[in-house]
Every structure is written in structure tokens, then in C-alpha cells.
């Protein structure tokens, strides 16, 4: 096995195991730490696919931004009460059956189609009009060239989300 394969299977196993910890641990803080492990493993998987820029974005935005936001909110609300409560819904049996059906269906489809996914040779990224070849340069050129309008729409979405979350968390009680 090559280094790439070893790294992929190690990171995949880590990602799945820590994802299972995310949904089974009682303490929300422990779940957040397990989620950090999952996100870092996924960043490693991006590296095995030569998506170096996305791996960096994953670590900076997901682990450094979104997850820290989660931990901040966990810090603001009390954890002690929710630990002693029952953790799972009454509908967990039905949910588990649905999930087993879902993974069986997805696995079956992927397994049946695996021969059509085999490429004779992994295609190299086509050199761009500017003649750049690095991953970050290619992503940047595609993002700001071909996908400029979606990029602007995404920035409007972020603005709306900022305004919305500020409006949501503004103090509004029944007394006022």
C-alpha cells in the first residue's frame, strides 16, 4: 500500500469513529471535541486528494471558526442540566431503521456503480488561461472567474446570516 492509501484509511477510520462519538457522547463539550477530531480528519482526507487549499479552509473556517462558535454557545448555556436528562428521543428505533435503510441504499448504489467510477488515469487539472498550475491559484481563478456571480450571492447570504443572527439574539422578553 502506498502512503496515500495508508493515510486515507487511517483518516477515514478516525473520521467515522469520532463522528460516532459526536452523536453518542452525553456531554456536549465532549461532542464538540469529537467533532473537531472529525473535521481535522476530513481535512487530512482533502490532502490525500490534493485539495490543499480546501484542507486549509477546512481547518481555519470549520475548526477555527464554526467550532469555536459552538463552544462559545455551549459556554453561555448550562450544560449540567442536559447531561442528567435522557439523551435520545422516543423515536430512536424508527430513526435507526431509517438510517440502516439509507446506508444500505447508498452503499448498494455506490457498490453497483463502482466500475463506472474507475478512471483510466487520474486526470490532471487542465492548465488555466493564466497558465497557473497550483491548487490555490486554480481554485482562486475558477472562483473569481467562472463562479463570480455565485461568489457574490454567497457574500449576500453571509450578510443576511449576520443580520439575522444579531436580530435573533437581541434581548426580547415578555416584560418589554
Amino acid at each position: 500500500m502506498s502512503v496515500e492509501q495508508v493515510l486515507f484509511y487511517v483518516f477515514a477510520a478516525l473520521a467515522v469513529i469520532s463522528a460516532l462519538f459526536v452523536i453518542t457522547l452525553k456531554n456536549v463539550v465532549h461532542s464538540a471535541v469529537a467533532l473537531a477530531a472529525t473535521l481535522l480528519s476530513v481535512a487530512g482526507i482533502f490532502l490525500t486528494l490534493h485539495a490543499e487549499f480546501l484542507a486549509g479552509v477546512q481547518v481555519i473556517v470549520y475548526v477555527g471558526g464554526i467550532l469555536v462558535l459552538f463552544v462559545f454557545v455551549i459556554m453561555l448555556i448550562s450544560v449540567e442540566k442536559s447531561i442528567v436528562e435522557r439523551q435520545f428521543n422516543k423515536q430512536w428505533v424508527i430513526a435507526l431503521i431509517t438510517a440502516v435503510l439509507l446506508i444500505a441504499e447508498l452503499g448498494f448504489v455506490v457498490w453497483r456503480g463502482k466500475d463506472s467510477l474507475v478512471l483510466a488515469e487520474p486526470a490532471q487539472p487542465a492548465p488555466s488561461v493564466l497558465g497557473v498550475t497550483g491548487n490555490t491559484q486554480l481554485v482562486g481563478e475558477t472562483l473569481y472567474g467562472q463562479y463570480l456571480l455565485p461568489f457574490e450571492i454567497a457574500s449576500i447570504l453571509l450578510l443576511v446570516a449576520i443580520v439575522g443572527s444579531v436580530a435573533l439574539s437581541k434581548r426580547k422578553t415578555q416584560a418589554e
Partner: protein, 100 residues
């Protein structure tokens, strides 16, 4: 080289774990984390195909998915804080104002 369908199977496994988390847990923070898990599964698929086909568009779409995940986390956590202010709970079964 790792076969492409192994990446897809990993994505399917992570997505299903996220679905189980959303459907079974009662703590709203864990539900939001499970949604992040599912978005990561989608990203793995996008980047696997991007790498195998030599097309950077998949990575650009993954960036958009991360943007949407950040927006979703901001709004979701705003809702959690508003909810905790009003009801002092993280249990979604007690948030039943719109249930009949």
C-alpha cells in the same frame, strides 16, 4: 491509488451518522453538530470527484458549501440562544409551540 468509491462510501457513512444524530438526539447543540457532519460528507464527495476528474469546480462548490455551513451555524446558534433565554432548555422536545 485509493478507488473513488471508497471516498463515496466514506461520505455515505458520515452522512448516515449525521442523519442518525439529527433524528435521535434531543440536545439541540448535538443536532446542529450532526448537520455540520452531513455537510462535511457532501464536501468529501465533491472533492473526491474534483480530484479524480481534474476539474476544480468541485472544490469551488465545496467552498460554497462551507459558506452555507457558516451561515447556518450563525443563525442556528442565534436561535439556540434565543430559545435558551425564553425556555431555559436545550431539549427540543420542550420546544413545542408550533406543534399540535
Amino acid at each position: 491509488m485509493v478507488p473513488t468509491h471508497h471516498y463515496l462510501l466514506l461520505g455515505a457513512a458520515l452522512f448516515t451518522i449525521g442523519v442518525v444524530g439529527v433524528l435521535t438526539r434531543r440536545n439541540i447543540m448535538v443536532i446542529l453538530m450532526s448537520i455540520e457532519l452531513m455537510m462535511n460528507a457532501v464536501n468529501i464527495n465533491l472533492i473526491a470527484f474534483s480530484g479524480r476528474l481534474g476539474n476544480v469546480s468541485g472544490q469551488v462548490f465545496a467552498i460554497f458549501v462551507i459558506t452555507v455551513a457558516a451561515a447556518e451555524a450563525a443563525v442556528g446558534l442565534g436561535i439556540v440562544i434565543a430559545m435558551f433565554k425564553n425556555k431555559e432548555t436545550m431539549n427540543i422536545n420542550e420546544i413545542d409551540l408550533m406543534k399540535w
